[in-house]
Symmetry: C2
Subunit: 256 residues, 2 copies
């Protein structure tokens, strides 16, 4: 598929990302509902000025620290994540030494396999959570959403859940895990449940996390990383992100 | 397709509307990009508290007045509109005596025909803008987006364009038409280009327009309708809608 965006369109970059997702949809990675979810994120990103805020940078640093310090970190990937940044997720997985698990809200065999294939093409050696691997159950959830890999999300102590549903985010917290979310809506249940929420577009957030992890991964930084996690205040982060969105609405250039 | 939403989900109603659109997608009415656009609207609706504001009510009244007063009004319908409220659009069309025209951003023959079929099943007798009917050109646009029906949008003096692209909204204004938009984002180019913008979910806006039209359609109300249109201030309407969104962000109940 060619991605053909009129270059003079005022929001060409956002349209390009949108077309990446439509391509992922046509390749069987993304559910129709995933396209709608992308749109919801687009609005918040638009109100944030489509750029990474200072608090989002701080969150990304804390998130990478938490993953590097974890005994058993896992990166959860759904169709939208695979369509938008499979290369970057595989890079992050290698750097923080965390396996990738496919974890779908609308689970079906074809989509699982398509996502696994995409991740392997991006260099992933092992992809958890596919087919009969997803045999463990998240206690408080119903339906196919509750299935996870016993060697992955089930036993993980720290999980990165980009673009996640609120019920599942909360269930992971209730299982005692450290939960890192990437969510553009600071009011969402996912954003409010997680211990660390990066309020940023995943397209920008994962590269930030990679850069932070590369910078921090030295053993000598253990105390620094512990401090970054300990001093991180998610409540203040979300309130500040909300203020930016409110301010963004007021400050956007416009003519009526 | 069964629409199966967990009834205890805090946003069950919004999920139901979303599934209506996914169904429209599966029936060939809606483009993948239309699903993303739906998501963008959802975010603004969420910030508006998913209810019709007072200014949106006033806008709907002014909009119905403008359509009733017009010599040649036309209702533009795309895939999302047909999927979400084809019955209501046909009702409105009958009440304000305005034909319906299929007008697509991502035009293709199958989608045109699927939308025409849906509208006819909802009772529309004539559907403009399909196939070779769409032979007139909007001067300032490129690509398939510029094709309109010479007996419909091309010669119309007043057009209702729900969920429309900014370029095309502006082009209609530049052609001298009175443009009525339905758009949940008061900052969008469509919202800012139109003379009357209803900042509301189309699911709620069209029934409001129908109710207003039924109430106003008496000939004796001509002066009242002229006054409603004349006194309508779209700039103030959009600023007030923005204030509601900003206030909604601050006031939403939340626990961190």
């Amino acid at each position: 598929m060619d991605i053909n965006i009129p270059s003079n369109h005022p929001r060409a970059k956002s349209l390009y990302v949108r077309e990446l997702l439509v391509r992922g949809f046509k390749n069987g990675l993304v559910a129709p509902e995933g396209l709608i979810a992308q749109g919801r994120g687009e609005s918040f990103d638009y109100l944030l000025g489509e750029k990474t805020s200072k608090v989002a940078q701080i969150s990304a640093r804390a998130a990478s620290s938490a993953l590097l310090l974890a005994k058993c970190p896992v990166l959860s990937v759904n169709g939208n994540v695979a369509a938008l940044c499979s290369n970057e997720i595989v890079d992050l997985s290698n750097i923080v030494n965390a396996p990738i698990e496919v974890n779908l809200f609308y689970r079906n065999n074809n989509r699982e396999r398509a996502i696994e294939k995409q991740l392997k093409e991006s260099g992933a050696k092992i992809v958890l959570g596919v087919g009969s691997r997803a045999s463990a159950i998240i206690p408080e959830l119903q339906s196919e959403r509750r299935r996870v890999d016993p060697n992955g999300l089930y036993k993980a102590d720290t999980v990165l859940i980009p673009l996640e549903d609120g019920d599942r985010a909360k269930a992971f917290v209730n299982m005692g895990k450290t939960v890192i979310a990437i969510d553009l809506n600071p009011l969402s249940r996912t954003a409010r449940s997680a211990q660390i929420t990066i309020v940023d577009n995943i397209i920008r957030a994962i590269p930030r996390m990679i850069a932070a992890a590369k910078q921090l991964m030295d053993k000598n930084n253990k105390h620094l990383m512990e401090r970054l996690v300990k001093e991180f205040d998610n409540r203040e982060n979300l309130l500040e992100s909300l203020r930016l969105i409110q301010g963004g609405i007021g400050a956007r250039p416009r003519r009526y």
